[in-house]
C-alpha cells in the first residue's frame, strides 16, 4: 500500500510541484495544508503516514508544530523541509521529533524512501 502524505507549506507553487513529484514516485498525497492550524486538522482527519512539514509557516514554525502533530497521530512520521539548508537551524532540528530534514531542492521519492527506511 502506498505511503499517505500530508504536504504542509505556505507556497501553493511548491505544494503543487511537490505533489506531482511525490505522486510520480508512488506516494499517495492525501492532503495539503498552508499553515499550522490546517496541518493539525488534516493530521487528525487523514492520519497520514508521512507529513512533509515546512519549517517556516505563517502562524507557527515546523519545529514547534511537530510534537503537536505527533500527539494528534502517534503513528505519523515527520520530515521537515525548508528552502534554507539544515545548518541554518542548528541543534533545534536534531532535537526535534522529526525523522529527518530535507532542503526543498533535494526533495525526491528516493530521498524520502531512504529517510523512511532508516527510521
Amino acid at each position: 500500500m502506498a505511503t499517505s502524505v500530508l504536504i504542509v507549506d505556505d507556497h501553493p507553487g511548491f505544494r503543487g510541484r511537490a505533489r506531482e513529484l511525490l505522486e510520480r514516485s508512488g506516494f499517495l498525497v492525501i492532503a495539503e495544508a498552508q499553515d499550522g492550524a490546517s496541518a493539525l486538522r488534516e493530521t487528525r482527519r487523514g492520519h497520514p503516514d508521512l507529513v512533509l512539514l515546512d519549517v517556516q509557516l505563517p502562524d507557527t514554525d515546523g519545529i514547534t508544530l511537530a510534537p503537536l502533530l505527533m500527539a494528534a497521530n502517534p503513528s505519523t512520521r515527520i520530515v521537515l523541509i525548508s528552502v534554507r539548508e539544515a545548518a541554518s537551524y542548528g541543534a533545534r532540528l536534531t532535537n526535534c521529533c522529526a525523522i529527518g530534514f530535507l532542503a526543498k531542492d533535494e526533495l525526491s521519492g528516493p530521498a524520502l524512501s531512504e529517510l523512511l527506511g532508516a527510521a
Binding site: 507556497h11 513529484l21 521519492g109
Partner: protein, 672 residues
Amino acid sequence: MTRRWPWGLVAGYSLVVALGQVLESLGADRLSPSEGSTAIRIGVSAALLVVAVSGAAITASPRKAPAGPLLLALAGIWAATSVLTGGAAYGLQHHWSLATEAAWLAAPSGLVVAFLIARLLLGFPDGPTTRKTRIVARAQVLALALGVPALALGSGKLPGGIDVANPHQLHGAVISQLPGVAALCFAVLFLTGLGAIVELQRRRRKAQGESRQALTAVSLPMSTLFIGLALLIFGPSGATDAVAQVVMLTSLATLGVAMAVAILRYRLYTLDIVLERSVVLLMLVAAASAAYVLAVLGVGAIVGSTRPSYGLSVVATTGTAVALLAVQRRAVGLARRVVYGRRATPYEALAGFARQVSTVLSLDRVLPATAEAAWTGTGARTVRVEVTLANGTTRASTWPPDAVLDSVDAAVDVVHEDEVIGRLLLEYVRGDRPDATRERLLADLAHQAALAIRNVRLAADLEVSIAEVQASRLRIVEAQDHERRRVERDLHDGAQQRLVQAGLTVRMATDALSSNPEDVAGLLAQAGEELRSARTELRELARGIHPAVLTEAGLAAAVESLAERASVPVTVTVATKRMEPALESAAYFVVAEALTNIAKHAQASSAQVAARVQNGMLLLSVCDDGRGGADPRHGTGLQGLRDRVSAVNGVLRLSSPPSGGTELVAEIPCVQ
C-alpha cells in the same frame, strides 16, 4: 483692589503729630511732668506712627478686618490729642482764651483710647460676631457714651496732661457723682478688654496651624498692654506713670504690628511694606525734629536770644521742610535696605549679574541668574524669566526658586536683533509699585540678559539638534536593518521558491527520461518558465535596493521609470542635471515612497512629479488629486524619508488638507 487713602491718612497723622510735638515742646512748662518729658513724647510719636501704619496696611489690604480702621482711629484720636494738648499748653503760656477749650476737648481722649483698645481686642480678628461678644460690644459703647459727658462736665481739674480747671463743669448733687461714673466706665472698658484677652487665650489653645500662630503673635502684646493700662489706672500716681506709659506705648506699637502680621499672615511679605513705610516715617520725624531743634537752638544762640520767636519758627519750619525733601529720597533707599537687607541696589544687582553671566554657558544657570538679578534689583515678590527655543519649546525659571507667579505686574521683552527671544515677568509685593529707577533697571537687565540668553539659547538649540541627529541616526540604522530583513524575506518567499520549483521540475524531467519520455519536454518548458519568473523577481528586488537606472541615467530617467510602473497616470517634469549620488538617491526614494503611498492610500486619479534646481536648492514635489487628510505623524515610511532628506541637509514638508489632495515637498541644498 488696594486702597490708597489709609496711607494718605497716615501722612496726615504724621503732620498733625509733628505739629503737636512742636506745640508741646513750646508749651512744655504747662504740661504735667510725665507728659512733658521729651523721651516720652518721642516714644508716643513713634508708637503712634507704627500703630497708624499697621492700621493702614490692614485697611489697604483686600482683607476687610475691623482691626484696620480701629487702629487708624486709635492713631487719629491720639494725634488729635497730641495737637490739642500741645496747643493748649502753648496757648496757656500766651494766655489765649481758646487754650482751655482745647484742653477740654482733649480731656475725654483717654476714655476714647481705652474704648478703642478694648473694642480692638474683642473677638480679634473678625470683631464681635457672636451673640456674647455683641452684648459686650454694646456695654463698651454704653461706657463710652456715658463716660465722655461725665469727663467733659465733671467738676474740678480736667483729666489729661494739662493742669487746668474744667471750663464747662456743672454743679449739683447729681453732678458730683460724675467722676464716679467716669471711673465706672473706665472699669467696664478695662474688664471687657481683659475678658477679650482671656477669650483670645482660650481660642488660641483650640486653634491650629497658621491661625494659632497669628493669635499667639497678638496675645503677648495684648497682655503687656493691659499690664501697662492696669498700672496707669490702678497704680500709685506719679512714679509709676512713666513706666506704665512706656509699657503701654511699646505694647501698643507691638500690638499694631502683630495684628497687621496676623491679619495679613496669608501673605506675610506685606509686612515688608509696613516695616519699610514705618522706617521711612520714623526717619522723617527724626530728621524733622533734629532739623528743627538745630535751627531753633543754633540760630537762637547766634542771635543771642533763648526765647523762641515767630520769625525764627517760620525760618526753622521752612528749613525743615526743604531738608525733608532731601532726606525723604535717601530715607526710602535706606529703609529698603533695612527692610530687604539681602537685596542690593539696582547698580549692584546689574554688576553682579554681568559678572555672573559672563562665564556661564547653560540655560539652567543663566535663567535663574537673570531672575535673581531682577528680583534683587527691583524688590519684586516673584520674578519669572521665559525663553523660547528655536524648536518652539519654552524654558523658564522663577526666583525665588520655589515661588509661583500669581499675577504679572510688569513684563519686559528680552530682544536680540529685533527678535523677541524671551520675557521677564514680575509680580510686585502687594501695594508696591514700580518706579522709574526700577523700570530702568529692568530695561537694562533685559538688554544685558539678551546677549547672554542668545548665547545659551544657541547652545540649547545645538543640544536639541544634536539630540535630533542622534535620534535620526538610530532610526536610519534601524531602517537599514529593517530593509535587510525585507530583502532576505523577499528572496526567501520569491526568487528562492521559484528556483526550488525549477529544481524539482528538472528532477522530475530527469526521472521521466526513462519512465515517461513524452513528459520531458513539458517539464523542461515549465522549469524554464519558473527560472524566468525567478529572474524577474530578482530584478524587481535589485531595483528596490537601488535602481540601476538612477545610477546610470540620473534622477529624471529613474523618476520616468517609476512613473511608468505607477498605479495612476503620473505627469513628470524633472529638469535637473546629474547631482551627487546621495542627493539623487534621496530624491528618488522620496518620489518612490510618495507614489507607493498614492497607490496605497490616496485614491487619486492622477499625480504630478516636479523637480528643479533654484538658487542652489533642489525643489522636489509630488502631488496627487486624492482624498488628502494624510497624517504626517503616522507611518514609518515618511519618518524614514525625513531622515534620508535631513541626512543631506534638506527638509521635507507634507501638506494634506482634509479637503483633498496631498503634496509632499522636499527642499535639498545642491550644487549642480
